[in-house]
Structure formats: structure tokens, C-alpha cells
Symmetry: C2
Subunit: 435 residues, 2 copies
Amino acid sequence: MRGWGPGRDATGDDAAAGLSRRRFFGLAGAGTAGVLVAGTAGGVIGRATADEGAPGPAAATGAVEFTGAHQAGIVTPAQDRLHFVSFDVITEDRDELVAMLQAWTTAARRMTAGLDAGSVGAVGGGQYDVPDDTGEALGLPPAGLTLTVGFGPTLFTTADGVDRFGLADRRPAPLVELPSFRGDAIDPARSGGDICLQACSNDPQVAVHAIRNLARLGAGVISVRWSQLGFGRTSSTSTGQDTARNLFGFKDGTDNLKAENTSTLDQFVWVGDDDQDWLAGGSYLVARRIRMRIEQWDTATLNDQEQTIGRAKGTGAPLGQQAEFDPVDFTKQVDGEFAVPQTSHVFLAHPTNSGTAILRRGYSFVDGSDGLGRLDAGLFFICYQRDPATGFVQVQQNLRDDAMNEYVQHTSSAVFACPPGVTGPDDWWGRALFA
Amino acid sequence: MRGWGPGRDATGDDAAAGLSRRRFFGLAGAGTAGVLVAGTAGGVIGRATADEGAPGPAAATGAVEFTGAHQAGIVTPAQDRLHFVSFDVITEDRDELVAMLQAWTTAARRMTAGLDAGSVGAVGGGQYDVPDDTGEALGLPPAGLTLTVGFGPTLFTTADGVDRFGLADRRPAPLVELPSFRGDAIDPARSGGDICLQACSNDPQVAVHAIRNLARLGAGVISVRWSQLGFGRTSSTSTGQDTARNLFGFKDGTDNLKAENTSTLDQFVWVGDDDQDWLAGGSYLVARRIRMRIEQWDTATLNDQEQTIGRAKGTGAPLGQQAEFDPVDFTKQVDGEFAVPQTSHVFLAHPTNSGTAILRRGYSFVDGSDGLGRLDAGLFFICYQRDPATGFVQVQQNLRDDAMNEYVQHTSSAVFACPPGVTGPDDWWGRALFA
């Protein structure tokens, strides 16, 4: 069993009282090809990878350590599936909110380790109890689950200026709703929110299970405002990962910030000591649902597509270069024209020209069709940064003449402040904020 | 390269002209842990498994043979992800419809083998061509992709009795819209349709890519009417598969028909010689989107849940028995009560009491939330049968007093006749129907 603190086995009580997912798994003897890493000691990020050699299916089933200086799910090598949810807080009682965050933390510790959500398990409690866990993840491994929490601007002060939970003076100055950008078509019904949870896993059922059980623990305290499922990570966040393709068919996130570049992360991703104390070591999350005009894109020539993006579709190489990771050369000319057009997405979004950097962590989505025979599909863009104003907002403002704008439309917007990681066995999500 | 007929390598032209997904993959040298089975000879269903030993990640990346007496995707061991789409035919020109079905078949042959959709690939065509393929599956293995086509009642005759494509006298008698059932709340906007495509794969990006490229090939001929993504297969269709759990947390499909029981399949799944000639060896597909009342279910005690289903939540054993695959004993009593309640889902749905059997092939879905703070989640139920009247309709009518009805609501309905498999290199989807 993984230890969460010196001298304490945080799941010891559960091992006696309930039937853990992993134990159930063992008892049932259900076959799976994955290697269960949750049961081994250690559990640092990437442990499965380190133990197993190159990243592969074995690593995909393992556990990611929940505790640490930063929350998992930010620089953790991006898993393949996403379930993101934004909640409204419906109670006015601060104590209820605190109790829920504590209960959430306990359940998140368990579920990220591959256990069920509570000690009265789906099958191990009394026959006349309502189970603590809903059961659909029984027998499934941890599958790289991370759970990341964030607090929205409205948790601190309502639009009318009401200090709902006595948090107004702890509101970080950068935590304000994003400005409007050219071309935005924001749907308020799937924007904003008081609290967000980002669940990432290599198994969608594990991600869905986690969000469902946390939402259930919050009954009477929070209500789902909007949610989004995603598949196919579109940005790698570690040098050990291949670059995946987005729904435009292009490799996406080649020049993303990577977990291994810790000094760059300190510069651009982690909140330092120039913000609210409770947020040091945290990060700001910006979420934008970006609808892609798939049908229009699919009628464009290969040349149009590559000039729009600024990279070759096949290799992912910057135009004018040979290989994906060749540096983008903004000075190179071909036939008297810049190889990388000045209106291309890569040109405008690149740190060289935007003057900043963000850690992208987006997922493709297909939400069926839109009633007009078109795919309702695109990119659920998530990024992390030290300050939204000098992160996403600065990049997005630099994209105002991006040729890609013809093919995309932002349909939702949200920003959250994600506290630092939970460290000790008694720590909980938001402790430093509410303490 | 897999051969699709004696003496012919159907992809030979593409190997010369374009850059196949697999070839691109090889050139790029992108790392993945999966074993590419598409490139090997043979390609019978389960070949990857047979070559590799027990089912595992290697099998999940391999190719499923497209051709055969029956369409793949019916008794093929259920893959983990689904993209299902229903189309309206918008042309009045039979030749256009036939040309599209031929183009679809060519593209389906390619994509199920792990190739791109057409020979002017996403990266291998001319720079000023519109690529045949959209590119997002470049570098991905076949991932068990199957594509299964079906024809709806309205393709043969409209509601007004118009014979749209000269097919009225070829309409199978059993192909009629399903009757209403107690408790139905059917949304017409996501029901019915002229043609359906079921894409199943172990990688959602591969399934989405396939549907997108087929929809694109049908521009001007068909329009997406509705679509549904699913994850977490809820029924195993092969004795080699574990039984997965549905969103009620229960093992689902334990007593499902299995691919290995060929005589039972002949009896209950495959259309015989007592129907339209063109449909012999085909099957009828019934699709029902079943919303689950997750929040209500989650407040029920373990006992209530088990009495509702008729099985133990942990083991999946029928109530009164010990292990999942123990036979259901409808006569056994415990404390003077039947162990398996007569209103339980298992009691009413079981072949013993429904008098029939269907091949289930459903997937869980979570389509975000419903605006009232509840998960919009449930089961996208798909089943195959020899005749809907003695298949799904008979089972569903027997469920009128099912205790589970308190927790579910059917919100969409559709029925399609799926032709037999494509056999030779010149065969195409629907040839026997349109010939």
C-alpha cells in the first residue's frame, strides 16, 4: 500500500473495513494485461515508466502520486482521456464547503490510488447501506488517474460584489474573468463556475467514475454547471511522449512546455511569491472549448492547411525545416516568401513572437453532431500559467490575425486558480485558502 | 499487405501512389508500444490474439478483417470505443447513392487495415490537392477498427409511401419502426435515419477518424442526422472477454450471446433464407439511447440495487449463486422469497423468461450534464437479431414491469437492416440490394 506520510498507511482502515478496487480485483482474478503499479511502494510521477522502460501500455494502467508540492494533472505526462467539470456552489455555508473539500480530498487520494471512493465500498459495505462508491470502476486499475481542483473568480466575490464565503480579501488579483477576443461566441451556460475538477486518465471509465463520485460527495453543496469529455490528448507535457495529432490532422504541441524543464515551469507555470500566499506553487487554469469547422477545413488543400498552421502535416516539421523538433526559423525565405507565414498559427503563437509561454494540456472532443449535419467537434483547450494576463490572454491577443481563425470558434471560457499540491496526510484541497 | 482476394493485393496502387498510415508510421519511426498486425498476412478476426497469446494490449492495436460472410463489428469481440452515426440521404439520385456506397466500401477496406481513407493521403498527395484523408489517425495502428453499415426503413419507403430509390419491393418485412414501449421518451431528432454506420475501435481517435472520413465522402449524398459516442463496452461478445461494468456499477452482459456459439447465432442473430435474399447472412440492428437516472440510483442501498438487477454487485453472480457464470436459478428461494426477484431485470430479460435471445453490443456514454446539474449519462444500447419483432421488441415488452425502469428512460430509437459481409475484391456495401 502506498504511504502518504511518514509512519502512516492512509488506507489501513479501508483495507480492514472495505473491499478496495484493487483487492476486489485480486479476489476476482479478472484478467487484464496491465501492470498494477498502485500496489507497489513509491508512486512518484512516472514511476511506472521508470520501472518499465519506455512508456507503454504497462505505464498507462499505473498510479500517479496524488500528493506533492504541485497538484498532479498539470505537468503529469498527459493521459489520453479527460472528464472536466465546472460546479456552482449552491450552499451559503462555508463549513459545508470546507467539509466537502475535505471529503473530496480523501476520496481523491483513494481513487487516484486505484481504490474505491469510500470505505463502504460498492460491494463491501452492509447490504442495507448506500454504498460509498458507485462501482463502475471495480476491477479497473488506477489507469494514471489525476484529479486537479481549481477555484473560480465567483467563489471569492459574486458579480454583485458579495463576499460569499469570507474569501474576498484572499482573491488573487489575476483571477478575473477573461476579456473578450475577436471572433468569440461564448455560451455562458458552459462557461465560468465556482470550482472545477479536471480528471485525466488513460481509461475514460476511470475518469468518469472519479468525477461522478466527487459530484455525488458534493450533493447539496455543489451542482454541476457544465462538463466536457475529451479524448486524444493534443499536447504532450513530457519529453518522453510522442506528439499527438489534433482534429485538423496536425501534430499539436510540439513546442509545448515540458515537465522536464523545471526552470521554465517556474518562470511560466507555477505561481511564485508575488501572488496570494495560499496560491504559491499553484497555477492558473484557462479552459476554452474551441469548435473546429471540420467540414470547411476538410475542403482546404494540403498547401492551404500547412500555410495556415505553419508546419508540414506529415512530419510536423516547421515549414522550411526537415524534422518535427527542428527549431522554427522565422527568418528563412523560400521563393522570396517567409517559409513560416506571418499569419500562420505557429508564427503568432510561438513564444518568440507572443513573448510568453503557456503549458497546454488540451483534448479533442466530438460531441455528436450539431443538428445541421456537421460534427460538433474540436479542441477542449486547457492551459496552465503563472498569470492569465501574461499567459493565455497575451497569446490569444497575438492570434487576432491568425489564419486559423477562419476554421475555429471559441464557444466557452473559464479561468480557475489551482492551489498547490496536498502534502501531508492531514492536508486537503484548499486548506491554505480557508485556514 | 493484407490480401482481399486471390491473386490481388487491393492496396497495391496505394502503396505506390500514396503514403499509407502504416507506411507513414514506419517512415516517421514514431514510438508506440502496440504491435502492428495490419502488416502481417492473414488478418482473420482475432488474429492478433491468436498470434500473441492471451488478449492484451497487442491485440487491441491490431486489424480486424473487413471481408467475410458476415459484417465485422457484430460478433467481433467488442472493442472499447464507439462512434455511431445515423444519416439522412439527401440526394434523390440512386446512382449517387450507389457511388457513395462503393466509395465507402473502398475507404472502409483501407481504414480497417490501418491505412488512410484514400490514395491521395493526408500528406502524400499533391501540395495543391485536397487530401483524401483528414490526417488525425496518421501514425495510429488499426486499433481493432470495424465499420458496420445498416439501412433504415425510410431508405426503402418514406412515411408517405414514396419509393425513393426503387427499393420498395426489396424492403424486408421485419424492417419497420419499433413500437412504443411504456416509459419511452423518444426524441425524434436523434432517432431513425436512412443509413447507419457503427465504428468500433480500441482508440476513440481511430473511430472518430473513420466516421469523419466516410461522412466526408458522402458530401451531397448524405447528411448526419444524429450521432453518439460511447466508451466502456458493456457487453462482451466473445468467451475470451471479461464482462465489463455499466454505469450502474454492475457487470453487464454475462449471459450475452457469444461469437463462439455459432448455432445460437444462426438461430437468433443472422438472417436466414426466410427474408429478403439480399439480407441473408445479415442482421437487424436496434439502437436505443438509454438515459440512466444516475443520481437516483446512487442513493439506493446495495440491497435495492441488487434486487433491481438480480445479480450481486461485486461478483456478478446471479442472486442465490456464488460465481458470475453460475446459471441463473429461477426456482431457488431464500427465506421464502425467490432469490432472483420476479421483477428484477435479469429475471425478465433472461432467455428463459423472455423466450428469445439477442446479441447485445452496447456502450456507456456521458454526454456532459443536462443543465439541471445531473449527468447526461447512460447506455447506448445496440443489439443484433434475426428479426426485431422476435428479438428486441419481444424482450423489451417483457420488461414492462422491470424494477430497473425506475432508473432508466429510453430517449432514442432506431432500427436498421445490416447486409451480409463484403466478400470479394469487387464487392461493396449493399451490392446485393441495389443490383
